[in-house]
Symmetry: C2
Subunit: 406 residues, 2 copies
């Protein structure tokens, strides 16, 4: 008998019929003799609807209350799934984040899981009860509801798997697994059978939306095997797991793109020591993650300072940066919302030279101008005009030999 | 400085614009120097939508999970209202039932409030924070979410007013107050300025949907003055308060109707002692309230046993009763879903004879057949074919002199 954690995303929970389908899948695994903890997201579209209501009320909704609002979507899902399981004759019980409890810090909308005491769940598991947990949400030490950020249900699932030392964590989604790139824009994209935590981290952080990045960090830290697969068929998916020899032989394992970033450039910044910190710390204080950062070589004591943030953080980041620019007596603040980040990822890059050159040459040949570059040990990212996104992905997918065989 | 509890129903919270309107009303009272606790319902239509989802999944959704489901509607409302108040520059904080905590028993969907510790709220009130509480919901002693039944937000508000010894409890709704009857079917209906707890209890229990009956019981027990008024204008509404001399002089203060009942009759019941209990106790065990009960005079050792339950309980009540009928070897079970309860209510009935006769004669003159009768000290109810509802209300309103003067 094993302990299986399964997570079903919003599309899998998108209608009463789909919830029934999810319930059948759960009971199949349960009937095979496994203990089950199931994590679910809000029904697809629900969270967006709630966010739209908040934004109709004001531009920057209060963080605490925003979390109360969006956490309600998962509450609906756990109740409906538990109702369905019970109507099928199974023992089932829904758990809010605070009922587990999933204890987090108090960083509303971006909370981090700190601890998951398992006493409540163990009692129900020993009783043969299927546990249905609201993903995406937790509770802080003073009883405030928190949420883990978009895609946070993946992290809930992996953290629960770690807390309960589950045998496997299955993440059910609307795709068959992790692909070499988005099949919607590149028909030759191929499903990857096995991918390392580090590669997956890069792919996730670069906008391949299959898993939330923090869930992969968690999985890496606690050594949780994640099986990403489709809730609409029985095909084997992608295993996200420890790195092995075989993986290292692959130069580039995937191409990711991200249209969710925006560029903010502060022109004519007086180039004094600590200027980067001066611009960036107010953003950090507002809990805004800055992704790529470029600072030009100083010219006559002035520099241009450019960085990217997500579209969701854009308005607030711009307001804060405009204020900072005034304070440090810099020039104008210039923005570009029509950018796209294209990235290539692969463990093989560590040991092979020339990958970057090949990437830049390929893009140049297509007349695609590179605006910013950032690299890590196993990935290279570039910012380009968003209209080139699809073209860039396709030519890179081709040139690095990722096209499917069958 | 006073402590004011305000409650806003689903229609008042029905859109972003209406929530803004509610926020303006709250801040007006707050700015006048009052401490504020605000109770809100789910946005209109939301609870029905959730119930429909559950019923799509199965006929009798599990009680515990049903409460988890429907409690989510109020969670959306408290978050949106708190977001709105904070965006206007006010201190505000949302509270779920479990965060207050509003402690209840474990009778899911019909839970009763047992205690409301006020420590958390007092701390926020002392800090000048406007408290926004989710109506309709509570938490039981083992941390399960419970709900108080339809209209339960009224009870939440009155119970909070009692717990905090508030100076007044204002119930905002989409009508101007309590009327002598439903203005939608009787154009001469008139707003009542002041009504006693007992009269309001009868009117509420008889289907005048302005206040949940339990809220009035609470108000009576703890002597809370309830001001029922519209959230769409500044007209004075109806005060529900202690009985006084003036009220006693009114023979009939209101006519109520209820189309939400259904009739179940067990024919040919062997007339042995304890048969009523045998039929009714399985219903009580299932937490089904039976309203009117009629047992015919016994004939040759057999009797017919008739009672009414709400439409919501009908299916389950019928299933249970059919089983009981089989067990006690009674005849067939006959049902009628097209009935309506018409009631006249007034403190003056206590001291005046002939009110019942006048009611029955008036209905007879219109050819309306009376199927069942039930009386209390201050009300008379009859069951009639539902097609006569409007006619019955209008003629009784006229004959008891309730038509408006102005």
């Amino acid at each position: 008998m094993a302990l299986v954690v399964q997570k079903y995303g919003g599309t899998s929970m998108g209608s009463v019929e789909r919830i029934r389908n999810v319930a059948r899948r759960i009971t199949r695994t349960y009937d095979a003799g496994n203990d089950m903890v199931v994590v679910v997201s809000a029904m697809s579209g629900e969270t967006n609807k709630l966010v739209a209501l908040a934004n109709d009320l004001c531009e920057f909704p209060d963080n605490r209350e925003y979390d109360v609002l969006v956490a309600s979507g998962e509450q609906v899902s756990i109740a409906l799934l538990a109702i369905c399981l019970k109507s099928m004759g199974y023992k089932a019980k829904s758990y809010h984040g605070w009922q587990v409890p999933i204890l987090t810090d108090s960083a509303f909308s971006k909370a981090r899981i700190e601890d998951i005491p398992d006493t409540n769940m163990r009692a129900d598991l020993n009783d043969g009860t299927i546990i249905v947990v609201a993903g995406f949400q937790g509770v802080d030490s003073t009883g405030n509801i928190t949420t883990l950020g978009r895609g946070g249900s993946d992290t809930s699932a992996v953290a629960l798997a770690a807390a309960l030392t589950a045998d496997v964590c299955e993440i059910y989604t609307d795709v068959d697994g992790v692909y070499t790139t988005d099949p919607n824009i590149c028909s030759s994209a191929r499903k990857i059978e096995k991918v390392s935590y580090d590669e997956m981290l890069e792919l996730a952080s670069l906008g391949a939306k299959v898993l939330q990045i923090r869930s992969v960090e968690f999985a890496k830290k606690y050594n949780v095997d994640i099986h990403v697969r489709s809730s609409f068929n029985d095909n084997p998916g992608t295993m996200v797991t420890k790195e092995d020899k075989e993986m290292e032989s692959v130069l580039v394992s995937g191409i990711a793109y991200d249209k969710n970033e925006t560029k903010i450039a502060v022109m004519q910044v007086p180039d004094t020591p600590g200027i980067a910190a001066k611009i960036l710390s107010p953003l950090a204080d507002a809990n805004i993650s800055v992704d790529m950062i470029v600072q030009n070589v100083s010219e006559a004591g002035y520099t241009d300072f450019t960085f990217t943030v997500t579209k969701a953080d854009f308005k607030l980041a711009l307001a804060i940066t405009t204020e900072t620019a005034r304070e440090v007596e810099a020039g104008t603040v210039v923005t570009d919302e029509n950018i796209s980040k294209i990235s290539i990822v692969g463990l093989g890059m560590r040991s092979h030279a020339g990958v970057a050159t090949k990437m830049f040459q390929t893009l140049a040949k297509e007349g695609i101008n590179i605006q910013m570059i950032s690299t890590s040990e196993i990935k290279i990212s570039v910012i380009v005009d968003s209209k080139y996104t699809e073209l860039a992905v396709r030519v890179l997918h081709e040139v690095f030999g990722l096209a499917g065989g069958e």
